[in-house]
């Protein structure tokens, strides 16, 4: 079924291959010798921190809380062994967790990061070190109590389904910090060391210097003086837990980094928190917990007296005041939850620029998170203004970079460069982040945008009003023939003015610009986004035209990129303008495919 030719065009970044490891736990040497005979072995295989053996059972237990609660509340009087079954699964998951710890090992050589895992199906993941784009260090509450941190290494392969990122869950805090420096600041630290005249042996912790080939294979066994990570004495695995090493040497070795602060959380920004609506998630989480409590835990809510009385009272009051009460309660709850969420995620937020060529974000009150982004791979920024936040002149800033997904909830992803803050602050910061690339005077962040013209305006209205009209007609039909209550179509009818407002706002926000270095595009209304994408980061172009767009002479241009959302659209722009943008963005690419004006008409008609 698979084709005759399946070839890798150029060297293809991350090789996430599955290698059958010969032998069992002691196969390190074998693999090394067979695969990379010419690379000196500078690093032993290391284990994750031993303290993870406490964390994993705890996490499993937390996940099982609803079931356990049910066990306590309801008891197992139903004669159904469901609870025993749950406990059995719990025990099994703990055992699996222990096995995962035992089988996961990793090492960092001069050229690669390798992670081995799997008990029955051995897997070796290898990432070339020069493909590391981002390093994300997260500590949950329990991690922090035990001094642990989870390290996620982002590579350029964002096209991979599932998790292309390498995860090390978890290392000692000191080792995690060291690993970050080692992976992203390698060239710089090597340079600093050389100029400071420090003997190579002291700083080479994990073979940090890219050019360290001179050391023979035997040298790996020498305990590395000042370096934070002991490589483990030859033959003895590092079961002691590498995180136990004092942290002072790390600061000593890497303290030479110059660090400039670009932004820091201001307490007054918390006023924007209720407008982020992140509290809606909390409502969902609570609803999920309650439903698990009733289903898995077998708790019958009707048996709880307070709830029953509440429900009785609630059904007693008039319907309109009940609805109003629920709405007000929800609004207050979401606002409070959003504020809490804001404080929890962004407490102590700091964005700094390191002389090693990285941007560094630290944040979090209970769960701390530190994200390091290689600036060279930062392809632009996105100013995101959801409607509510826009209404109070707030915005947030998101990095457009390879190695971090910005699609799935930027707050959860590490690409947030500034939490919801005044729009002026966001714009100033965006300018500063992009500043080192220079420019031609037109700011990609605040510069004027070209509107998309009357055809695009008409299309906005046709789409918004058309969709609304279809809804009204459908509801009318259902009211007529299927007995739907009349208020449904009346409500839909009442939405028409809002649809018109939405269309007008969507057109007003639509715009693009082409500066010398950046493609700028802005779109949306309920969630307005303005993206400045570096032209160097644009891979190719997609131009789509629906039947109606062809009639209106419009097209949607998409710049494809390896960063951020993978593709950034300039919607409903005139075809000639789209081509203008594309030719300016990647000079020369389109030239052979442009029609000479005199002869393009018959050809184009052929495709209509």
């Amino acid at each position: 079924m698979s084709g005759p030719a399946e070839t890798n065009g150029t060297t293809d970044g991350t090789t996430n291959g599955t290698t059958d490891a010969p032998g069992t736990a002691d196969a390190a040497g074998t693999i090394d010798a067979s695969r990379t005979a010419d690379v000196p072995r500078t690093e032993e295989w290391r284990r994750l921190s031993t303290r993870m053996l406490f964390v994993h059972p705890f996490h499993v237990a937390v996940r099982a809380v609803p079931a356990l609660l049910g066990l306590l509340v309801a008891g197992s009087n139903k004669g159904f062994p469901g609870h025993l079954f749950s406990l059995g699964i719990l025990a099994l998951m703990i055992v699996i967790g222990v096995f995962r710890w035992v089988t996961t090992t990793f090492r960092i050589t001069d050229e690669h990061i390798q992670v081995r895992k799997g008990l029955f199906r051995k897997q070796v993941m290898t990432v070339p070190r020069d493909r590391v784009r981002t390093v994300d260090v997260t500590s949950h509450l329990l991690h922090r109590v035990l001094g642990l941190a989870r390290v996620e290494i982002g590579t350029g392969r964002s096209d991979q389904k599932g998790d292309g990122a390498l995860k090390l869950d978890a290392l000692g805090t000191a080792e995690a910090a060291h690993l970050r420096e080692e992976l992203l600041h390698r060239l710089d630290t090597a340079g600093v060391r050389a100029s400071a005249g420090v003997p190579a042996g002291t700083g080479a912790g994990a073979g940090a210097a890219a050019g360290d080939h001179a050391r023979g294979p035997g040298a790996a066994a020498i305990p590395t003086g000042v370096a934070a990570i002991p490589t483990g004495v030859a033959g003895i695995p590092t079961v002691a837990g590498v995180g136990d090493v004092p942290t002072a040497p790390v600061a000593g070795t890497f303290g030479r980094e110059k660090e400039t602060e670009l932004a820091r959380l201001q307490l007054s920004w918390i006023r924007y928190a209720p407008f982020t609506l992140s509290g809606v998630v909390a409502v969902g989480v609570i609803a999920g917990f309650v439903s698990r409590l009733t289903n898995e835990g077998g708790v019958d809510l009707r048996q709880i007296g307070a709830l029953r009385d509440g429900w009785k009272w609630f059904t007693g009051v008039p319907v309109w005041s009940a609805v109003a009460g629920v709405v007000i309660a929800l609004i207050v709850f979401v606002a409070v939850a959003s504020t809490l969420g804001y404080v929890l995620s962004f407490w102590g937020f700091r964005l700094t620029r390191h002389s090693g060529g990285t941007l560094h974000v630290t944040r979090g009150l209970i769960t701390t998170r530190a994200t390091t982004i290689e600036e060279r791979r930062l392809r632009g920024v996105e100013v995101s203004e959801p409607l509510l936040l826009r209404a109070v002149r707030g915005a947030r800033l998101i990095a457009v970079t390879t190695g971090l997904h910005s699609g799935r909830g930027a707050q959860r992803g590490g690409s947030m460069l500034l939490p919801p803050a005044p729009v002026a602050e966001v714009e100033t910061l965006a300018e500063r982040v992009l500043a080192p690339r220079g420019g031609d005077g037109t700011s990609p962040v605040v510069g004027p945008l070209v509107p998309h013209g009357p055809a695009a305006l008409r299309r906005r209205f046709t789409r918004a009003l058309g969709a609304n009209a279809v809804a009204v007609v459908a509801l009318l039909a259902l009211w007529e023939w299927a007995g739907l209550p009349a208020w449904t179509w009346i409500t839909a009818l009442a939405f028409i003015p809002f649809a018109a407002l939405l269309a007008a706002d969507r057109y007003r926000n639509l715009g693009h610009a082409m500066t010398r270095e950046y493609l700028v595009t802005r779109w949306g209304s309920l969630g307005r986004r303005r993206v400045a994408l570096e032209c160097d980061g644009i891979i190719g172009w997609n131009v789509t035209r629906s039947f109606f767009q062809r009639r209106a002479g419009l097209a949607t241009l998409t710049a494809t990129t390896a960063a951020g959302r993978q593709g950034y659209r300039v919607p409903d722009v005139a075809m000639s303008e789209a081509i203008g943008i594309a030719t300016a963005g990647i000079p020369g690419l389109l030239d052979p495919f442009l029609a000479v004006p005199e002869e393009h008409d018959p050809h184009l008609k052929g495709t209509l």
């Binding site: 030719a5 070839t7 150029t10 789509t544 035209r545 390896a562």
Partner: protein, 166 residues
């Protein structure tokens, strides 16, 4: 001004004419599922609401026929491809059409694939991927030899370029 009058010309090559039949059969299989479901529903319901179900089935049949007649021919008129040593350029779709352009220097993989239905018609498709998840270029409905030739050419010219293609 040049930009004002600029337009993309269609890529040079059409896909194989057999693709019309391939597209027809593929779409027909999809419609068969829908019609089959409707028929099954009628059988199970055993005469209830036939006043709605029979017209619904008729509408489905008409839509299917129109789709099967119009779509493959329209698609064939639109689908075109072109490769140069510098770029891959395709045009696809029918009601909604899409041009895709990627420089050869940014190509990461070139895959050729033949599904069971494509094998039946002696066709193959070629997918060119770049580092962007939004950028894969697929040329479908190619004659098998053409597909092999494209893969060969693109692989050769992609290897000739340097850089990590991200």
């Amino acid at each position: 001004m040049d930009v004002q009058t600029a337009a993309l010309r269609p890529p040079l090559h059409r896909v194989s004419r057999t693709a019309i039949w391939y597209w027809t059969i593929r779409a027909a299989l999809g419609w068969l599922v829908v019609i089959g479901a409707q028929v099954a529903w009628m059988v199970v319901a055993d005469g209830d609401h036939d006043a709605i179900r029979i017209p619904a089935l008729a509408v489905t049949a008409v839509l299917a026929a129109a789709h099967l007649i119009v779509m493959p021919r329209w698609r064939y008129r639109v689908h075109r491809w072109e490769t140069t040593p510098e770029a891959v350029y395709t045009l696809s779709g029918w009601f909604k059409q899409e041009w895709r352009i990627a420089p050869v220097s940014r190509i990461q993989t070139v895959d050729s694939e033949r599904g069971p239905l494509e094998q039946l018609f002696g066709l193959a498709n070629v997918t060119v991927t770049t580092a962007s998840a939004a950028g894969p270029i697929t040329i479908s409905g190619l004659a098998r030899e053409t597909a092999d030739r494209i893969v060969h050419e693109l692989t050769a010219s992609a290897q000739a370029t340097v850089g990590d293609a991200t």
